[in-house]
Symmetry: C2
């Protein structure tokens, strides 16, 4: 199989884009990636998106975006795995290149969640969970994560305030990212004033939705020796409903996909310089750290409390704000993570630059851990 | 690249499955395909589906289906390209095998369109078209196809009754398929009694929706020398909105994907023994025949009038009923076509068997020709 390189990146700021349509968001990010790569024609386009079918009354985004990019006749399709849609699109882009079938692939993540008259985002997000066995009983998506966080606190003896450093880190880092939705660091006092959303999850333990799009232009690595290289790529599923898991504090799909990615890259967790993880909720950040071998079970929160996750720590995470501060345009998030990791490895992360970053990891999660996609990128 | 073989097929009858959930439909078809192949564990699962996000309030079908199939830890994702979703899922399954990344892949198409309280199927289907430039103006999906058919009649001088042989063929063939929704041949009198739905499209020019699921188990061809082989596979897009096309009577994405598939297979249209085409509307069947080199522009309807498309004709189409009689569970249809073509090539099509079938073609269309996926299969 051919190795894959990231030749171009593009993103639009995560915002409430009231006067920009979903197609335009996707096109803006895609054009930026194509311009960055100096590539005008691609073989295929994979679009990650979760909710356009009902929030925007628009399906067939693959053809729509390809059409408005002027890429007539190419292959194009949308991939959906809830909040893991963009990471899943990246997987297919990589396979298309590695198979030898395509020589230039555009991977786009896009989501337009505001300006959706008459349709509620909470209902749309609930479709990530099991409609018959979870949602039917009235539990919301944040409610499911609250159950997991409550169990974590009970099992390992933490207080809900112990999770605050995840938010401090994300917001401090987001303040250095011009594409982030929130650009102010937060203090303990601000955190304390965050209202409870679904006990024990408070405002700053949860990520904000937003409108956004991010894109990558992929090529075979042999054609771009100077470009950031994909050295590991894997995806795995777990049960959709959290009550079906042996242990709701174990992200088995993260363990499995990270292990596969490490094996492909021939490295271990100790060689990862930074980690763009899926901090949709603080407890998910802790579980990701544990599942990927950076902390023992129950020590993910301790890592945050000790400052290991901050810039300059042993494993900086969410270096450009993460889902909490950059924002979480659900089906686009996985691509934002990959764009950010690429910028870090190119040394183009501005004030948020991690010194000496050589290997970066990204992890995109769909649902409460049901679909997890892990990538490892390396500086050329 | 490795060649791909179809080791197992599975399908459920297209019906109004009032007491079967979308997950169960998918699982039933998938289990049948796995059993047919004698394979118990796969590397990845690609699920084609269009409307589950709003009609069933369920997203993340990849993980859901993999979970309930007991395929924990595999890679799984949903693909969506409107009515071309299942064909698009097949494309990714093929690429996953040909890349060398996977050794056994399950491809499933599923749609559950009845029992969707409070949500209308017509609105859900309209999301296949351009929300801003087509649907916003009040045109429905059948309305768009009526515009195309009207133009066809005007341009080539046909009467709407000239399209009837497409329906006669489909319903006669569907009567021999136990999985078909409609199992009665229709007469000219019955056709004449079909009410106008969107002038000039009448009842029997349009395909019925339904609930259904179909699945294939793919493996590398070298591991299954006795299995039906995929000798051509390609997908292409056209503009989403039909008013953006140079010529609305030309399915450019069909031309392009068919041409690519012919090249891969090293054959021409004259070597194709039967064609499972996407007769969502009769005019689309005519346009597919023309785009793929079986008829000159304007002669697609003549081919039907001459009986060339019937069993025993020069190019039998919709041999097990097509979308019109087997039924059109939108995101599943592309897989039904592939299952049916495989059965024909195995000689397992029962009363509908095409004698001496050696090479079969399938073509799955998303929207009014915006995404078109073409496959060529060969008897081992």
């Amino acid at each position: 199989m051919r190795q894959v390189a990231i030749l171009g990146v593009g993103q639009v700021p995560v915002r409430e884009h009231w006067d920009t349509s979903i197609r335009q968001l996707a096109i803006d990010a895609a054009r930026a990636a194509m311009q960055d790569a100096g590539v005008e024609r691609v073989g295929s386009i994979y679009v990650g998106n979760m909710t356009s079918g009902n929030l925007n009354q628009q399906r067939q985004l693959g053809a729509l975006v390809a059409d408005f990019l002027g890429q007539w006749g190419v292959e194009a399709v949308k991939l959906e795995a809830a909040c893991g849609s963009a990471g899943s699109a990246m997987r297919q882009g990589i396979i298309a290149i590695s198979s030898g079938e395509m020589d230039a692939v555009l991977v786009i993540g896009v989501e337009k969640m505001t300006e959706t008259p008459g349709r509620t985002t909470t209902s749309a997000l609930a479709t990530a969970a099991d409609a018959d066995y979870e949602i039917e009983h009235g539990v919301s998506f944040v409610g499911l994560n609250a159950l997991i966080m409550r169990r974590y606190m009970h099992e390992y003896g933490y207080d809900r305030r112990d999770f605050a450093p995840f938010a401090f880190n994300a917001h401090a880092n987001g303040s250095k990212n011009p594409y982030a939705l929130f650009r102010q660091p937060i203090s303990q006092k601000i955190w304390d004033n965050g209202r409870i959303i679904a006990d024990p999850i408070s405002l700053f333990d949860a990520s904000p939705i937003g409108d956004g799009a991010a894109a990558l232009l992929l090529v075979p690595a042999e054609k771009a020796p100077e470009a950031v290289r994909v050295i590991g790529s894997a995806s795995a599923i777990d049960t959709l409903a959290i009550h079906d898991r042996e242990d709701i504090l174990r992200l088995q799909a993260a363990e499995k996909s990270a292990k596969a990615a490490y094996q492909q890259a021939g490295i271990g967790p100790d060689q990862v310089d930074f980690f763009e993880l899926h901090d949709a909720f603080s407890v998910m950040a802790a579980l990701s750290l544990e599942a990927c071998g950076f902390a023992l079970p129950g020590d993910g929160v301790k890592m945050a409390m000790d400052g290991d996750i901050f810039p300059g720590g042993t494993l900086p995470i969410c270096t450009l704000g993460g889902l909490k501060a950059r924002g979480h345009p659900v089906g686009a998030t996985g691509l934002y993570q990959l764009v950010e990791a690429t910028l870090q490895l190119r040394g183009e992360a501005g004030d948020a630059q991690i010194d000496g970053a050589r290997i970066g990891m990204t992890q995109n999660i769909g649902g409460s851990g049901a679909t997890i996609v892990t990538h490892l990128l390396q500086k050329p």
